[in-house]
Amino acid sequence: MKGKDVFRRTALLIAALFVLMLQGFSEDKKDELFPRMEGWELQVGDQVYNSGNLWNIINGAADAYLSYDFQKLYTAEYIQGQDSRLKVYIFEHSNPTNAFGIYSQERSSDYTFVNTGAHGFKSGDAYYFITGPYYVQISTNDQGLADAMDALAGKIDQQIGHQDELPATLKRFPKKGLVSNSEKYIAANFLGYSYMKSAFVADYKRDGNDFRVFIIHPQDPESVNSMLDSYLEFVEYPKPKDIQGIFKVEDPYNGDIRLYKGDDYLAGVMGAGEELSKEYLGLIRDNQ
């Protein structure tokens, strides 16, 4: 009985230490994400935002973040003198693909792209990049602080633990004619249909043709079939027993789409003629 008591007490002590360690880790995480920068005072925000209160800080923009499985938002300010301020938001998503997804919705070809993290861009008063599951946003109201923003971005990237991998599916997009930085990850409702779930898309320009290519590559390969079944029923495509090769559907809202179903993915080309579509769907198939 005594032995059991000792064992019980030891187990409880270890458990309590674990709780304290957990507490410490989580607390540290808020502080550890933000590096010190010489000459700047760092003020880490007390509040860590979650999906329930993200609206309080970014208003209606929160809806888009939530659709990419947003987890937490950490905030900080770097202050120098009276007026120089750099505001930092670090959004944590459930995985790097979702971080890329929301980032890809917000980037634009107007910006200057940078090599920080896995991908990034900047303008005169803002610097954004993704690394792992984090989407980092630095902003200022003083365009004279661009160099300081550059330096801080590099430090945060190192602090978080630089990760330069983008989602693997992006590598399957053919390079020829690809509009630079046009790749996107759509988390749900692809093409405007609730059953279509997520997809990667990229824009192309080739010989005067503007077209879009997409790849649906779910973790569960079987779901490709159910998505395709629902879609073919909607577009009234006479589905044969086994779909093979490239086939064309007439989507009433998205135009003609040529599709190719691989073993575990579905690829499509929108807005291109038959030959061009065949070429690109073939390239995707060969890029496996």
Binding site: A15, V19, Q23, N59, S108, G192, S194
Partner: protein
Amino acid sequence: MSDRSFNRRTFLKTSVLGTAGAFMANRLVGGETLKPVNQHQKKGEVVRRKLGNTGIELPVVSFGVMRADNPNLIKAAMDSGYEHFDTAHVYQKGNNEKMLGEILKDYPRDSFTIATKVPPEEKDRKTGHLLSGTTKKAFLDKLDISLKRLKMDHVDILYAHGLSSKQAVEFEPLLDALQTAKKQGKTKHIGLSTHKNEPEVIEAAIQTGVYEVILTAYNFQQDHREKMAKVIAKASDAGIGIVGMKSMAGGRLGKDSDKPVDYLAALKWALNDPHVHTTIPGIINFEQLRENFSVMANLELTPKEKNYLHAAALEQGLYCNGCEQCTATCRKNIPIPEMMRAYMYAYGYREMKKARDVLVDHQVEDNPCKDCSVCTARCIKGFNVHDKLADISRIVAMPDDFLV
């Protein structure tokens, strides 16, 4: 929403496609042109309301564009009878406005009503007060950027985005900026949007006599919905247009529940208040685009929807709405809304570890109220804050094997 019931025929039949020229004949993204599709429903079948004294009249359901990433969804909406589109300077860092501009440039300017929101530059998040960084120039510069993205010389409604205090509503540089934008013809009407401390904000907006439209959170899950109904009626009677948002209350029944909100019941609940002139649900797929037409045509709640709303009201007892009004009344600055969330995890869903994670994240100690002899914290829902905090904070020091 049933996938089975939705196919191309049912969508095209049930869409409200008002005018004779409303065909699916525009060039789609992807470069192809589709054949016109005959439409069946008449304009008169849509419930329309006047937007206060603005002279604008709209269908009761409009299009919140914030999450729409398929331009063809906007085209289908335009061609099927939607008239009002709501975006903001900050949505997708401006890409949302750009997408709208790219599509709407192909339509006559008087065939749609567009609203955008520009945020004040600097705000104290705790008090909602605007700070000196909010200047007339900064606000108008942002508006110019928005107009450029939208490819328009004016919007129909310009909102000051996300105001949450009387001070912000009355902030002189902001009022000056809004009125200047109107004088310059960059907007036809000016307004504000609010989703925190809404009654205070709306009351202040009525008093200024400047704001013509108010975009406000209004839903069946708000604890202060009766207060909201009264102040909305007062604003509407004063000639202010009322646009409802967040009708779905985040899409979940209770802030952290997994139960989805009944979309149609929630939308009808808001629109059954005749002082709500239109709503802007965030539309993300064609199914939703179609379903909204059933609401536009008939606002009457079905018996099933009434039962759902009744049951939902009963479930509200456990949920903290995160209004944060309690935090200002707590002498120790305890993160009460987060602790209430942890309480809900623990007592509502029996997810003890999740509850403790929330407390640990917010550095809550065991019995944080121990130094106070009297609790000053007040909850608008009437929660006994002291007792609930005492109950839930115990979990912080609890070993793991008690939390399974």
